[in-house]
Symmetry: C2
Subunit: 686 residues, 2 copies
């Protein structure tokens, strides 16, 4: 591209005739300069460093460089901008409009030339670094900063008098037409290069990875490339296929992690490897096979070929991270929980047997510590606590809760051994979140009668149509969020005491409180199956929530703080839970309830950011290095915090924000007859 | 390693007591400095930049850092060097000596400390950049400058209080113990890392590729890694397995290129691809399978595992280059003969299905032009005409002769379409060089009786034992060098004229000159089979040698020169040929016969240099870019030179050097009866 004849200044620059050249101002950047009549708008924009996209390099093919003239008087700039200060609609624009459609007022900046003063608006969809809008208002937007850039080039034909290779002529064209230099080229791209050049009649589109590596060459023009962001969870693998040019999610898929057949939770999978040599190979194959199924599914949904997927990013907990990468996870099964690597991993898709474009790259976010994985790195990237003034607690609840606390000054991370109770395991009536599972519970304070909702039906159980509507679903169990609500409601209605004892005295008030040996149970649903909350169920949740709270509290100690500005619940569990009930139960410290939110699959969002924004990769590596890693297992205070957190919501910690929102019951002792393990525990403590 | 307390100077530097520190001078570099008593010799050497090898980093394990004390008065240095100025033989040296042997006088410089003034000799086998001796005196030595370096490190164990990945602790150790920074690590090395660290009890040996990439990690100490240099010829694949630490060739292998079943010469293989879609895939597989066979063979011969081969370099003509790399060679089958790439190719061994170390790299030398391949780049690297003052002509004879001409000021390259006559094809009695083939011929000037030697027998055919000794071999045909000698001898004895006509008048002198229709033949061997040199055979060789000469002459024109200082014949054919006969026939221009030599497989030597010397890779890329590529097919003068070069040795060019060495016959016309096509050709020209 030629340099413009003018200075980049608003001072009057004259043309050869002594007349002042027209002024062009670009919005929203405000960059402006004077250019000779006849200068293409794209060229003027480029010379001013205005962010305008182009794949075809100004040939009127891609339509990425569209602009709109802002008409009117611009007193501040001292110009009058008019549509007819642009050259007439050209044959190139006509052809593009006929073929692909051009909205009224839109012009191709590569084809339109300056005739007079202009104020040019660059719509966000014409910018390379466009913003990708995210659903939740409080989150930062993702700025596109593509990992893969596409470049349409015209390549010189071979000449016997100057016998250079096809690749060298392609590189020359990329240098001359795109200022791309010192590129490497994948061998598989070289293998297909000669055919692509000849099929495209010496016009090809080149994909360049991180500005350094030629990874694909297509005959003619091509502007559709995709990337896949994947969160490999122990239970679920969630993936989003994104258009790498727009950042839009064009297809999504969630599927069960087939490793479940080797063990429900992480530690049972590591045990499987320890007891079955080579088991890690089976599990690696299982997860990779599932990823290939996912690729097929999202490509089908988006109507694209799997070969058009050029990039893939991954997050996952350390064990999933290792199994995905073919690293034996046994070291993560016992102290000192050594990761093979805590750095980011950038490799070929073929190196994890992923069948997408043969030259596609994989980027796996860094892990933080032996229990705090790339999923937490993804959460940090998504929630950006390191950019915030607010003291933010982020918890991602799973078999291990991963906990991040801090703000832009310091960031701490730890994991807390909650066990799988929140996922419905270890609970007598517990089940995974699936149709038929109770997910919402309310208990009448006077009668102690419950009502509930099950997944797959919007009606409460006391609605006349509930039975009919749930006939096919059944009421099969209670999922994690249902258990949280049920226990919180049992506490709020006095069925369980602050210490977590099912109060036998309440049996007088309701037949749903029933004796069961030396303890009492609460009958949540009298059907097939009968769903009861036992004293042991309450204990299991108490242990889990105490571990979670103690982990968070430990990090607060390390920072020397007592109050939180914000709490974010990440992960699938976090997005189904009612944050109020979580706080009633004391899973999390007190906080303004308006500032306690669910972030959904924040880890997956982090993977998506790493897919769409080049700079985010350096950012997360830098932040992860700075994160202070706290190992709860070796902190003596953890046990102390754990004991205090067994009570509901807590033995000693005040919950002023919660008390304003919820009518918390006064502390009371259970009926003397209770002699459950909770009772023993009380005696031991004092 | 700590910095020495002294300046790197011969000025008297004193220790804390005011005494002058001892002087240590290292030979052959002459570097010297003063160091405090107790400084390890290796440390002193390192601080002075003296080239001493070490894999174990000064732990007395590898024995690479051996030195010898030069005893005596060194007046120039003003010191007296004595053995007892070194610390006593240490337990570490004793242990090493017991285990691996230490020659008398040798000391481990990492273990021996300075006590007084010393002159230390660093034997060449203790230097990293040691010289690899080559057989021929006129060639430059190869300086070792390893692609792969080995580093023994002790890695910190994981610590729950500082939860870093194993890789990160390894990298820290490499930085602290070897000053290696910003390394990447292959995923397969990460996969095996944890096991290697634990098996080696946190002591491992790391292979680093080009100072940038961790490619292998072995438990404990390992100093044996190998590299393979391969010349992929159309007919033969020749490989040398080298110890990457010493540069020594530890095993060699030559095997037939199995692609021969798709076509004897290059063009017939390209035709096969053109006529059989997918044929290129078959041929690629064939050559890669053969390479894997070669790997097995050389590893077995050297007694090493195929996984200990970490690097492989390749040369080959453009079509072999493309087929090896899985690039369809059809574009090389017709004008404009476009290469897919003329740059060097560095990829994984797995990308060409080569079963050596899973992280091994492949380096393929750059091609020069569509007919001038990576083999010629290898020849240039081996013969170094670009470093010479002498005007050197290098010819590598095959189906196409590849020709290089020049010196350190300019270098030109071309290929000349000789056709396969020199390889024995197109010759009625021709055959490939194999046992039983005639390779040497002498013809009695008076009787015209021939005598010859066959491959596999050292006796001339007129020796009484010849028949008995060749009974198993037979006399099966004439190979390329045999044909050259036979034709040259026929010319020198007057059987063929300067114009290449078999002179019927000679039939009167010997019954071996026989009429055959309108032309005459010469009966070389009257047996089973009968071996005759026909007029057509002479013509085929004339066409081939004229093409070769014309190509060389064309390059001389481009340089504006008439004389050559040196001629080098490369390739298998070049190493079997008698250069004098080649010149008698006029294959090459006149030159001092003492300066006409065979270089053997110079292309393969080039591959070996690229395997052992890191800088040579940049060198050959730079030189190849500067080479002026001449396309003989589009040069009008080529045809003119070709016509003149049909005569023996040449129609007009003088051969003064040759005339001094050989009694060249006076020009004569053949007997008038001759009406062969040579006669027609003469008339046309005349």
């Amino acid at each position: 591209m030629d340099q413009p004849a003018t200075e980049k200044t608003t001072n009057g620059i004259t043309n050869g005739d002594g007349h002042e050249n027209p002024l062009i101002a670009f919005m929203p950047s405000g960059r402006r300069g004077r250019f000779p009549v006849g200068t293409p708008i794209l060229q003027a924009a480029r010379s001013l460093g205005v962010d305008i996209d182009s794949v075809c390099g100004g040939r009127g093919i891609c339509g990425r460089c569209q602009v709109v003239v802002s008409e009117g008087e611009f007193a501040k700039l001292g110009v009058t901008s008019k549509s007819d200060h642009l050259s007439d609609f050209s044959a190139v624009e006509q052809r593009y409009g006929d073929k692909r459609g051009l909205k009224p007022g839109r012009r191709l900046s590569c084809s339109a030339h300056v005739l007079g003063d202009l104020v040019i608006d660059v719509p966000s969809d014409s910018q390379v670094h466009k913003q990708v809008v995210r659903k939740r208002a409080e989150m930062r937007t993702i700025e596109l900063d593509p990992i893969i850039t596409l470049h349409y080039v015209e390549v010189a034909e071979p000449d016997m008098h100057d016998p250079t290779g096809d690749l060298q002529r392609l590189e020359k064209a990329l240098k001359e037409q795109w200022k791309l230099e010192n590129l490497d080229c994948d061998i598989r791209a070289i293998q297909g290069l000669q055919q692509a050049l000849r099929k495209g009649e010496w016009k090809v589109t080149v994909a360049v990875h991180l500005g350094k590596q030629i990874t694909a060459v297509w005959p003619g023009f091509n502007d559709k490339v995709y990337g896949l962001a994947v969160d490999v969870g122990s239970t679920t693998i969630a993936g989003h296929l994104c258009d790498l040019a727009t950042g839009d999610v064009v297809a999504s898929s969630g599927l069960m992690n087939p490793q479940i057949r080797f063990g429900e939770d992480l530690m049972s999978r590591v045990s499987y490897v320890m007891m079955n040599p080579g088991g890690e190979v089976e599990m690696t194959k299982a997860v990779r096979d599932a990823l290939n199924d996912m690729v097929q599914a999202v490509a089908k949904e988006a109507g694209c070929s799997i070969e058009s997927i050029l990039e893939c990013t991954f997050v996952g907990n350390p064990i999933m991270h290792h199994l995905l990468l073919g690293i034996n996870p046994v070291e993560l099964g016992g102290a000192p929980f050594a990761l093979a690597t805590d750095g980011p991993v950038q490799i070929w898709a073929t190196e994890i047997d992923l069948k997408i474009h043969p030259n596609a790259r994989i980027y796996v976010l860094p892990c933080i510590a032996g229990h705090v994985g790339a999923d937490t790195a993804g959460v940090i990237l998504s929630e950006s606590p390191h950019e915030s003034d607010e003291m933010t607690l982020i918890v991602d609840v799973g078999t291990n809760a991963e906990i991040v606390l801090g703000n832009k000054h310091r960031l701490l991370a730890a994991s807390s051994p909650t066990g799988p109770a929140f996922e419905g395991a270890q609970i007598s009536c517990g089940q995974r979140a699936a149709p038929g599972a109770i997910e919402r519970v309310r208990i009448d304070r006077a009668t102690l009668e419950p009502r509930f909702k099950v997944i797959g039906c919007d009606l409460w159980s006391d609605h006349p149509d509930f039975k009919a509507k749930t006939e096919g679903l059944g009421v099969t169990g209670v999922c994690g969020s249902g258990i949280i609500e049920c226990l919180a409601e049992m506490y709020l209605s006095g069925i369980i005491t602050q210490d977590g004892v099912v109060d036998g005295a309440m049996a007088a008030k309701s037949p749903r409180v029933q004796q069961d040996g030396r303890t009492f149970t609460y009958l949540l649903h009298d059907g097939e199956p009968q769903l009861k909350i036992t004293q042991n169920d309450v204990r299991a949740i108490q242990l889990a929530k105490a571990a979670l709270y103690a982990g968070a509290r430990l990090l607060m100690d390390h920072l020397g703080i007592d109050k939180l500005d914000r709490i974010t619940l990440a992960g699938a569990f976090g997005s189904h839970i009612d944050v109020k009930y979580a706080m009633v139960l004391g899973m999390i410290p007190d906080c303004d309830l308006a500032k306690v939110t669910s972030a959904g699959n924040a880890a997956g969002t982090g993977a998506r950011i790493a897919l769409l924004n080049r700079a985010s990769r350096d950012e997360i590596v830098r932040v992860v290095k700075q994160v202070e890693k706290i190992e709860t297992a070796v902190e003596p205070k953890f046990q102390e915090h754990f004991v205090g957190a067994m009570a509901i919501p807590h033995k000693t910690a005040p919950y002023p924000h919660l008390a304003k929102a919820v009518n918390l019951p006064a502390p009371k002792a259970a009926a003397p007859m209770d002699e459950g393990d909770g009772g023993r525990r009380r005696r031991r403590r004092g």
